[in-house]
Amino acid sequence: MTNHSPPTAIAVKKPGLEERLMSLLDDKKRRYPTYAVLIAGTLLVPFISDNYILEILANSFFYIVLCLGLNIVVGFAGLLDLGYAAFFAVGAYTTGILTSHYGWNFWLTIPAALVFSIMAGMIIGGPTLRLRSDYLAIVTLGFGEITRIAARNLKDISGGPSGLIGISRPSFFGLELNQIQHYYYAFFILVLLAIFVSYRLQHSRLGRAWQYVREDEDAAEAMGINRVAIKLYAYVIGAVFAGIAGCFFAAKMTAISPDSFQFMQSATILMAVVLGGMGKIPGMVVGALALVLFPEVFREIGSMRMLVFGVMLVTMMIFRPQGIWPERRN
């Protein structure tokens, strides 16, 4: 993301919070201890906190995975996707339908969801990624709605407007996953995987190609990058993140309905991505946490939540388009 706000003052004597945050993750000597402390701390949380806090944290982890997935599309490749909830619906419905109608084992539905998300990503992305970026945004919005309407109208398989209920809980080596602690750890593993994959992708050949296309599509193409193909990769990988998160969402909730996949869901995830700072992996963690914690802390605002988000979205874009996570300076 190019920063269009005026350059900030360079001469900063004392390292501020931003510099200290950055140095924790950038400095090689400090990086691994920081990670170790963070992971160990997160693993210990269930031993000292109640179910309410675990529920909120598990929910945050779930949004972190979705944000990291959308970040690949919006942050890395610079494509605006307004129907991201559709991919998450694909994963959730795959698990829901296969376990409740066909009696599949939960773990077997994950590869199925993987295949279906890849297919969904290719069906949506394939024909539309040739379009200009703003057309793409509205097409994804349309696809998001089509998916939701289809889930509502195909009553025989998707359960119609009331959705699917009684999705069976997965078991893990004989242990049935029915406690919030189980899902806390399950989503935490997903978060670690998602962060690892995002990080590896960002620093891969593909990651550099995304960055190039995002900054200057024509120049990238002149350099021999197949822009449609690499955009499609971004799309499909983003879809896979959401699809797998959707599987676990279905298992945790045991009930899904088309209402979980409305446009507001996509807008919320996008909000977290923008808030954290598009293209920044630690920013996604911060953005998703802020998004989930905000309504919990300010309980009174309740239904005004999305209104506040809207105002924040506009304000962020005007005054701090790089997000709340500090900019890397080098």
Binding site: M1, D134, N153
Partner: protein, 304 residues
Amino acid sequence: MTIFDITIQQLVNGLILGSFYTLVALGYSMVYGIIKLLNFAHGDIYMVGAFVGFTILSFLSGILGDEWTGILASMVLAMIAVGFLGVFIQRIAYRPMLSAPRLSILITAVGVSLVLFNGVMAATYGEYTAFNTGLDYEGITMGHIHITYTQMVMVAATALLMATLHLFISRTIYGKAMRAISIDMDACRLMGIDVNKIIGLTFFVGSALAAAAGVMAGVYYGSIHFFMGFVIGLKAFTAAVIGGIGSIPGAMLGGLVLGLLEAFGTQIPWIGSEWKDVFAFGLLILLLIFKPTGILGRTEIERM
């Protein structure tokens, strides 16, 4: 009902639906033509228009009655009020973003849409509001076909608004400035055109037209809801793309084509009314893939 009756009836339905799509699509297309912004909040402007019109009408109905005089007066007032709202939004949210990357201004537009949508939702507690008027179902009956005067007036009013807009764009100095800016904004600035003022004017006209559509839709369907702008925003964009985005006659044509296609499309047995939104979005996607320039759009040659 014979096939002929159904055809005429759907033709009328399609024309009404098409009128709403056209009026909203015009705002999309004008804004896109001038600053290349896909104004996601435009559907919500239509929704706000309906609510503003409703509020004004409930004040005016004591003085002017809740029939044509009252409705017309509240429609005009709602157009002016919402027009200024459009200018205000442009001034606050879009003007600082004009030189920013494309993605940023698109996200800003999504934010504006969220603000309008959730603001109205909070104000109305998410309930449907009944839009009561003194209009009845009187009209002309020919066999099985019944066309109400309300329907006729709506189509006529849309035609009148479109004709006025056409004259405004093609005959006035402001219209000329708009056309010039859509070709080359920087050159216009050098020529002494107050670009910001003209962009503001474009938002005013576009928002006023959407408000007119909102009030008419409220009168026609008899109830308004904070959610009414979302789907019509998408549909109007479809209409703008069908006609060729950025082109004003294109938006007019596209709206009517989409309205008629939808009215007749839902008569196909295996589509049915619950799939009608899918039908319109499917059409949009196919169109964007095979003919993104639309019927009247120009093929754009991008220079580097």
